[in-house]
Each structure stands twice: as C-alpha cells, then as structure tokens.
Symmetry: C2
Amino acid sequence: MTERSGGPPPLGDMDGAAFRQAGHQLVDWIAQYLEDAEHYPVLSRVRPGDIRDALPSSAPDAGESFDAILADVERVIVPGITHWNHPGFFAYFAISGSGPGILAEFMSAAFNAQGMLWRTSPAVTELEEVALGWLRRLVHLPEAFEGVIYDTASIATLHALAAARQDAVPEVREQGLAGRPDGPGLRVYCSEHAHSSVDKAMIMLGLGLSSLRRIEADTQFRMRPERLAEAISRDRRDGCIPLAVVATVGTTAVTSVDPVGAIADICDRERLWLHVDAAYAGAAAMIPGFEATLDGCDRAASLVINPHKWLFTPFDLSAFYCRRMDRVREAFSVTPSYLQTWDTEPVRNLMDTGVQLGRRFRALKLWMVLRHFGADGMRRRLAEHIRLAALFGRWVDASETFERVAPVPFSVVCFRASPPELREDDSALDDLNARLLDAVNATGDVFLSHARIKNRFTLRLAVGHIRTTERHVARAWELLQEQLTALHA
Amino acid sequence: MTERSGGPPPLGDMDGAAFRQAGHQLVDWIAQYLEDAEHYPVLSRVRPGDIRDALPSSAPDAGESFDAILADVERVIVPGITHWNHPGFFAYFAISGSGPGILAEFMSAAFNAQGMLWRTSPAVTELEEVALGWLRRLVHLPEAFEGVIYDTASIATLHALAAARQDAVPEVREQGLAGRPDGPGLRVYCSEHAHSSVDKAMIMLGLGLSSLRRIEADTQFRMRPERLAEAISRDRRDGCIPLAVVATVGTTAVTSVDPVGAIADICDRERLWLHVDAAYAGAAAMIPGFEATLDGCDRAASLVINPHKWLFTPFDLSAFYCRRMDRVREAFSVTPSYLQTWDTEPVRNLMDTGVQLGRRFRALKLWMVLRHFGADGMRRRLAEHIRLAALFGRWVDASETFERVAPVPFSVVCFRASPPELREDDSALDDLNARLLDAVNATGDVFLSHARIKNRFTLRLAVGHIRTTERHVARAWELLQEQLTALHA
C-alpha cells in the first residue's frame, strides 16, 4: 500500500492537499483517456468473471492511497470498459458525454445537493426549470409543458402512464386496481416498434402486458393510425377502458417517426392521454430543416427527450415534459411530517413529481453543456451526425453486396450484407450478417449492434458520439467490406 | 463572452488543452469549496424565483467559455445551494459524499459507460457485484443475497414489492390486477413509522394506499409483531391476500428498529415476502458493538442499504439485496431484438433487474470510497457519529429546558425545547419549537429539521457528514440554548 498521494486521515475526509493532488492527477488522466479513447478496442475483450476474479472479495481493512486505486483502475477496470467514448462506437444509440458535461458532473458530485424539496437546494429545482425551459424552446414545444428531470426515459414513461391511469381512474391511488369491476380491463396502445420500457411500465403499474395493444406499423415502420382507431373501438365494444397511447418519435430499432398529429386527433376524440417517446430523436427538432420532427407533439399530454442520448450530456438525464403535471402530483405527492415545510411563497418540491424522493443535481450538466457549445454548436453537431449517417446510407445504397433495410430519418442506418447469390436465402443471410457483426466488432475499431427488422437480422450503425467524424464512419464501411469479403470468399 | 479557457471548437468536443485547463481550475475550485463549506450559510437564503430570474430564459446561440460558466456558478448557483457539505448540516439524514467519492463520480462521468448489458461494459456489472459483496460482508449479510444498485431506496422498495407481487400472483405480469377476483384485494404491511416510499410503491404498483396496513408501534417506535399477526389474520378472514411486510431498521423520523426476527417468524409462517428498509441504519451493522443492528435480516427476502446516506458515497447509490432476484427478473426481464446477445458464457445483464434499462457506473464510487477509507476507517467514522449523537443526547438529558423525545440508537437525536412553565401546553410548545427551529436555521451555522412525533413538533439533529466534529455539534447546542433564551425571554 503506497501512501504517496493522500492516504486517509484518521477521521474526516481526504484532506485538501491530498484532494488537490489526486484531482489534478485525475484531470490529466481523464484528458489523456479521452484523447486515447480511439486506441482502445471499443468492445471490451474481457471474459465473464475476469474483473470479479481480479479483485479481492472483501474490502481492505486499512485505507489505501488514491495512487493505488488509480493503478487498479488502469489494470482491472479499463480493460473491462466498453468504450462509449470511442468515436467508432456505433451501437444502440451512440450516447455521448462531453467535456463540459463531465466537469459539471464533477461539480454536482462535490455539491452533493439533494433536491427533494425546494429548500434543500433551491438551485437544483430552479436550474432544472431553467435548463428544461431552454431545451423546450430549442425543440419548439409550447410553454404549457412543465418539465421535470428523471434518470431515464423508462422512468419518465412509467410516470406518464401512471399519470394517465390517475387521470382516467382517479380512485386508483387509494383503491388500486385489484377487484375493480373493469371487466377485461384498462388498455394502453403503442406501435409494434415502441420501446420495451412501455412493457415494463405496464408490468410495474399492475396493468399487465396483455393490456398493451401493439399496433401494426406501415412499411416505413410508422404506427398506422387507422389501426389504432380500430383497436380502440374494438376494445370499447368489449367493455375495456382505453387509457393512453404511446407514440414514438425515433423508434429504437429503425428511428421511424409515428404520425403524431393523426394519433393526437384520435386521442382528442377518445379523450386518451398521449405520451410521446422522443427519447432519441426529440433533440433533432432543433436542427434547421428538422423542425417538423416534433410536429403534433404540442398536442401530447407528455413527452420525453433524453439529453443523455444525443445532447452530449453524460448519462443519466431524461427530460420529462408534461401538460398535466398536476396528475403526476395527484398520483405521487405524499408528504410525511418530517418533510413538511412552511414556505411563505409557493414553491415546487421535486419529490412531489414522482416515486423518487431524492433528486440529484442533474440540471447542472445540461445547463453547462448547452452554454458551452451554444444552441448553434448543438445544432451543427447534430446536423453533422445526420450528414454522416446519410453519407453511410448512400455508400450502402451504391453497394452491390449490401442493402439498406429502412429509411434514415436521423443518424441511424439499418442495413445488411446481401451478396447477390444469397438474396433468396434469408436464413443464410441472417447467419452471414451475425457473423459479419461479430467479425467487425472483433477488430476493436468499431462497435455496431443489430436488430431484427421484418424478421431479418439487420445491422445498425448509429452515429452519436461527439468525437465521431467522417473518418470513423469510413473506417466502419471499410471494415464491413473487408470482413464480408473474408467471410464470404 | 470571454474565450480564455476553452471556447467550444467548431465541431467535436472541448479540446484536450481546454479540458485540462478547465479541469485543473475546477479541482482547485472544488477543494476550496469543500474547505470553505463551513463559512456558507447552511440553508440557502435565496427567495423563490431568485435563481430562475437571474438566468436568461433561452440558451445562448454562441458557445461560452468555461470561465464564463464558472463565474455564473459562483454568482447565481452557489447562493442557491443548501450546503449538504457544511459540517453543521444536521437535517433529515445528513447524507455525505467524500473526496474519493467525488473523484470517482468524475471518472464515472468520463467513462460514460452504460451498463444495461454485461457486454456494454463488463466492469460496470462486475464491479457492482464486487462492491456490493464487500458491503454485504461488512454488514454480515449471508451470501444468498444477490445485489443490484439502484438510484434510490424508493426505487429499491418499489422493486421489492413488485417482486413480492410477482411471487404471490405470478400471472400479474401478463394479466395485471384489474378485474382480478381478489375480493377486497392484496395487502402489504409496515409500521406506522415506515417511510413514505412504501406509500408511493403501493400507488405505482396499482395496489392502492388502502391496501397498505400501517401497524401500530410500541412506545419505542418499533412495530408491534402481535399487532402485525392480528392484522394479517383479520385480512385473511376478510378474504384479502397478504403479500409482503416492510420492516424498517432505522425509521426516518426517530431511527427506531423494528423487531425483524419476530416479524420474520410471522412472514415465514404466513409465507409473506419480508422486505427490510435499512436505508439509513444498515451501515451501522459494520461498527463493533452494533453487529446486532441487522439481526433477523438474514431471513428477509430483500433489504436495502443506502451508501449515499451514511457511507460517504455521493448521491445517488442505493444497494438492493435480494434472496429472490429471480422474482425481480421474472417480473421485469423484457428483451427486445435489438438487445439480444449470444454470449457463450452466462452473464448477468443489469437491465433484467428492474424498470430502468440504462445503468450508470455507480459501483465505482462505492468501491473507491471503501478502498480509500478502508473498512476500519469506515467503522471509526460511523462510530464517531454515534458518539457525537450520544453526547448531544446527554446534553439534552441534562438540560432543564430541553427534553429528549425518543431513544438515540444511532446518530440522530429527537428532542424539543420544553421550558418547565410550558410543559403542560402542547400547542405552545409546538409553536415555540417551530420558531426555535427557524431561528437556529436562520443563523446559517446549522440546519436542523423536524418531525411530528407522538403528535408533538420535534426537532431532529442528525449527524452524518464526514466533516462534522464535536465542535459543530457543540455549536448546534449553543445556538439552540441562545435562541431559546432569545425567544422565550
């Protein structure tokens, strides 16, 4: 055990000098890591159990220096990281932090402010209002949407559907759902391409998966409104109570956009809660030429956008906007005596807007990122990602051995290898593409993911990292061609 | 707009030199802030709207330098912070970060690793297993408990009760609760002193508040097991289905400990899920002489301990331990095609253990804190907090004008001013104590909170911050006496 930079004092915190020394060391370490990220294999190469087995099974009795800990981070942890900072990270949604976001998280951890009540740190509550107001204006949503920050879109969608349930069945808070004379029950609707968080919300809320109607999509993967209307009518005829529709702007697999306006018409007519999952693509509405991305969403009851996905804000920060935040509060406001306040002026207490009592100071990072890059800087970065995806899409379209599987509305390209001689053999193509995916990912230069689209094994290239440039996208294309040749020779 | 340290580049992230400069500046700023924390008023003095009104209502178009942002943090944000780092913070539970925890969060934000799948960063999944294993051993829980990190104890308790529901009503995932022929419904039990997160979980799960039975406590604020047994029998007679009992080790207002062993006997007999909320006091089980804190908890189905409360880990990190994590997975595992993997060896995918798909790399901070201070260092710090609370309790007991309102099992003292001439007048005492609380908090040197205990307005002094010493507790006592004299003169 070395004691060079700051062994622990007998009591109290790490002392100031030790914190400074370790902190400065860590700044340089992180700067170097970010600069070098591209030289690590994107996808970690450790085997299951490697990390666990490399570490002791009990905490040390005596404290250790920061140097010793940092040495183990390099030796054990870094090899076990899949580098979301690698500019060749093209999997899932390529979520990305950024320098100002990382620094903001450092500051937020230092404040360690907990924003359950306005008074437990007014800046947490009010900066959240400010930062969410900035984002709301950038994506052209009306002021009627009140915002609250949650950790993830899954939690946002869960609260949206809880509010919808509260709206339709006000006695649910007190009485619950069991024993209700609803006959076949309550119903929620989403497209067949909606995110799994809708399923999880149905389970959590006690609505059950069988109460979720997944509506068929058109050939462009967009929910078919006429099918939605039919499903609602059928359910009403069967005595069910429709509660809510979840529309998606930027579905997870293919980033398709449901026709929110047409869906809103139906929700208005049927008096249903419309929640929009714009976790990924909502940010695009700030780009010149993409203002229509959120068309119709001004009529939604609630909407979620994830700045941790495509706005350079370190994970986690999910922005939930709601026209009816009163319903969220009606559902979840519970104030025990030890949290009662006697503020002389009305204040918002974040604990009233959801299940989580404690709230991190997340707004700081969104605010610092938006300020550091500026609205123009954000727009230009997102537009560049869209340009890169379109470019890659054109390479695929021009190729004889690859084909595009879905439109490219934003920064994600869905495609697959389809050598002419295998075009009729779906099972051989599935197998070839799975092996191709493993082969390109094994190079360490890129990480792509996949989805089953129209029951075909499809590759996905998602552009999103702040350091990704044309060179990285070109490298992915080069590797795909090389590895396909090697596999299919 | 200054451009001294790192205006944003045209595209890409903040460049390395700018990040280094801003980072070093921030390390010094944070070190200074932590050293100075004691010189700020603990409780923020801003008025509602001050922070919001001090900031522009739209994001800037052009990017700004880190210097400009930091200047606004000092000017606008810091005055709006209630300083949880002030050693005179004695409110609620005095949650505390620490130097190594802050540095770990900085590193975690830099990695920006998202641990939904093992492969999306094996280190996230496996270090979580390691760090939770360390904590489990420190508090003497058996290996049968599998651990998972959530953000908050509210989310942990929500998942515990969801798992209990899944265990008792396996068809709930598919069918939901509506229209079930359960007659009067499903029932959950907790003490009258249990945390409001149990209420919120009941609402979210569709069980409803009326399905929660709050069981009477004894004079020491501990759930009375015989009353629990009676309530269960009565409910069974009435055709209800008892699901689960939530016992608390360290209730929020008075930190009392329910008789978990006796409650476990009842849960065994009745085949109920026993969840233990040890969010605050669970950590105490590692202190010599306090090993019995979690007695009986080895028989629980699930248990939650919050390292962000009393283990010097920055908010948020809640450790959920469960003997039946299979039930959590049964409830919440949903794998869409785009997240399917074909790992050759079995791995744990964190997304299967709950609603949240995305998982931050939280384990890093718990691991770094435990290593830096060592198990001995943690024990000595917690023991010192307990010593300080006991000391304060003795001062109260020796005073003629104050009285203790509850036992002091850990680091929280519940007390109130009770000048002899007002002892018979509860309403005057309530009023006096509320004014006393405002008066001591207005000094800026301390922040205490309150609770209604036995329907009396009670003051709470919670020791928990890593920098709190005897001097700070003595200052609180001095202020209470001074201000009482001023108010009651």
